[in-house]
């Protein structure tokens, strides 16, 4: 029983990371209607920045995380400005391929700077593990921080989008970009802001992910990126609460699948659940059904 609870907590922790990454996917999708395949690699870049600043340069972890968030935010905006903005009117596939190009680019930049060897990431969390039920259930400091960080970020983000002016502009653009522009919303600025927020969250997710799973290569971001993308679709792409629910569920399914069914099949189980959900609800758990007009 304690084993099960421990797996569940680990699942929620991994799910929190997925949820943070999925937020980046889902916000960009909701507003720019594009699949940003390079998002996973922004996570990787963020982790490398923390690795350089904390492990190599010896800065305190908080400073490293701040620098990482700043670098990723700028990176996200620059990518949007250079690679995606000129293609705003182009077909979806073209933007997808460009995003894949950006993904290759980031991976190879990291490969050139840091080499292909796995870097071991020292955890930035210094909280001691929490021991519950007389030592039968031990929750690591990383897990606690990850879950708390995810909850805080979700609350702040929801408040920001509901109650601030830029946040409401984001809602308006995702509802109808053309109409929002006519109402005086700066669409380009709003999209850039979305990329900035998404990339900042990716940096945080990267730090949390690498604190729990401390091996860092130029391809570290790819698989969590795909999984988070699945989480976003799972919850209904374009929906922020959906990304949260999808991420958490996905994390739990993956960890439980790994523990009780087969560690090699864990990914396959995650994908299979996605397929089943989409067959029952074709737009995800919280996705909106779009009526087709003739």
């Amino acid at each position: 029983m304690m084993g099960f609870i421990s797996y569940l907590v680990n699942g929620i922790s991994l799910g929190s990371v997925y949820a943070l990454i999925a937020l980046g996917y889902t916000m960009v999708y909701g507003i720019a209607k594009m699949l940003n395949f390079a998002h996973g690699d922004v996570i990787m870049i963020g982790s490398y920045v923390v690795f350089s600043t904390v492990s190599t340069m010896g800065l305190p972890p908080a400073a490293g995380i701040l620098i990482s968030v700043a670098v990723c935010t700028v990176l996200g905006v620059v990518i949007e400005r250079i690679a995606y903005r000129p293609l705003r009117q182009a077909s979806k596939l073209v933007v997808l391929i460009t995003a894949i190009g950006v993904s290759y680019f980031l991976q190879n930049v990291a490969l050139l700077i840091y080499g292909a060897n796995t870097k071991s990431f020292t955890s930035v969390v210094t909280i001691p593990p929490l021991s519950l039920a007389g030592g039968a259930l031990i929750i690591s400091g990383e897990t606690i921080v990850t879950i708390l960080a995810c909850i805080v970020i979700m609350i702040v983000l929801t408040l920001f989008i509901r109650h601030s002016k830029p946040g409401r502009a984001m809602l308006a653009v995702s509802e109808d970009g053309g109409a929002a522009q006519l109402m005086g919303v700066n669409v380009d600025g709003t999209i850039a802001l979305t990329f900035a927020i998404g990339s900042a969250l990716a940096a945080v997710a990267g730090v949390l992910l690498c604190s729990s799973y401390p091996s860092l290569t130029p391809y570290t971001g790819a698989m969590p990126g795909i999984k988070a993308f699945v989480a976003a679709v799972f919850g209904g792409i374009g929906s922020i609460p959906g990304a949260f629910i999808g991420g958490i569920l996905l994390g739990i399914i993956e960890i439980l699948g790994k523990a009780y069914i087969s560690s090699q099949l864990a990914d396959a189980i995650v994908f299979a659940v996605l397929i089943v959900v989409l067959l029952v609800k074709p737009t995800g758990i919280l996705g909106r059904q779009i009526q087709e007009k003739v």
Binding site: L87, K92, T98, G101, Q107, L111, L274, P282
Partner: protein, 361 residues
């Protein structure tokens, strides 16, 4: 009127013949260069993979360009074909000593199994639309790869044994043989793939795809792509034609898989060869070559496979350059500003000013 019709038809046939001609000419050119000893061993090793990529790109173009659905799981079907073909070849290595016949049968079996996988995946998947369909095909591709990685298959005098745990679990007799060793895959597949077979398979693929496109079925498929609701309301069976295109595309990917399996002595399902990265790479060929343009797919597959090899002297920078080229090509061909620039200073305008003059009037 009649004359016009034959003329229109002949233009189409001519176009197809040019496509076949390009492939045959490329084969002859490579053969001549090879006889003259001007082809490096590196390039020689690339010839069969080039054929594989061309087949994959042309077959994916059927799904993406003609059917208009984004599939990110093409490598999964290739994986099914590769393993089905390799198992067949390995089991019949002694029973059918003629390599050509055995390889031909392996191709048919690989194509059949991939087509079966295409139908099984297609029935649920094709109900979804757009990006949802893309992510589900990606999911299926990953599932296929993961499942193959845990299968152990052995054979002895009592028949086949399958286990999902390890080789000992098969309970083989001492003289039994393990065919699939889980993550290590299949070793010792006969090396039957040659450049000539690859070229012949490209021609067969082109023949199937081009004839499908220009048939009544092909027009029905394209009408679904252009407007599903309109197509449905004139009585086109949308599900049937979608599934048909998807299945043909999958089975051709299976053919490429068999070619791939028989080009290497070890076949294992890894993220590198059968993961979503491979599917994405093929998609890049299709989009860069021009969505729906078969000839473009062939050229893009060849150029984009050779480009990183040509840049090999640049070592670590080659994939970086590849990425930059990819982004630059996309922006250059699709950004409104660049399009305007090209229209103003493009080759067409400079060479033939007739069209420009007409537009001005």
């Amino acid at each position: 009127m009649r004359q016009m019709k034959t003329k229109a038809l002949s233009k189409q046939t001519r176009n197809n013949l040019v496509t076949y001609g390009i492939v045959i000419a490329a084969y002859i050119a490579v053969e001549i260069l090879m006889r003259a000893g001007m082809v490096s061993s590196l390039l020689k090793g690339l010839l069969v993979p080039l054929c594989i990529y061309v087949i994959l790109a042309v077959s994916l173009n059927l799904t993406v360009g003609i059917l208009g659905e984004l599939s990110l799981g093409h490598a999964g079907f290739m994986c099914v074909g590769a393993f089905a073909g390799a198992i067949f070849s390995k089991c019949t290595m002694n029973a059918i000593p003629v390599a050509g016949l055995r390889f031909f049968l392996a191709l048919l079996i690989g194509a059949a199994f991939a087509a079966l996988a295409g139908i099984l995946v297609g029935i649920p998947v094709l109900r979804l639309k757009g990006d949802y369909l893309a992510i589900v095909t990606l999911a299926f591709g990953e599932i296929i790869k993961n499942v193959i990685n845990i299968i152990f298959l052995g054979r002895d005098s009592r028949g086949f044994h399958i286990s999902l745990k390890d080789a000992f679990d098969l309970g083989l007799e001492p003289e039994g043989e393990v065919i699939i060793k889980g993550p290590q895959g299949i070793t010792g597949t006969p090396n039957d793939s040659t450049f000539l077979i690859g070229i012949l398979l490209i021609l067969v693929t082109l023949f199937i795809v081009l004839n499908l496109i220009h048939s009544r079925t092909g027009r029905a498929i394209m009408s679904i792509r252009d407007n599903r609701i309109a197509a449905e309301s004139v009585g086109i069976n949308v599900t049937k034609y979608k599934l048909l295109a998807f299945t043909v595309s999958a089975s051709l990917a299976g053919v490429a898989g068999v070619l791939y399996a028989h080009n290497l002595s070890t076949l294992a399902a890894q993220p590198k060869n059968f993961g979503y990265n491979m599917s994405i790479m093929i998609l890049v060929f299709v989009v860069l070559g021009g969505i729906g343009n078969i000839r473009g797919s062939i050229i893009a597959a060849v150029v984009l496979t050779l480009l990183p090899e040509m840049l090999r002297s640049l070592n670590d920078y080659r994939m970086l350059i590849y990425a930059v080229v990819l982004i630059a090509v996309m922006i250059f061909s699709w950004s409104p500003k660049c399009r305007e620039f090209r229209e103003r200073y493009g080759l067409k305008r400079l060479l033939g000013s007739k069209k420009g003059a007409k537009e001005e009037v």
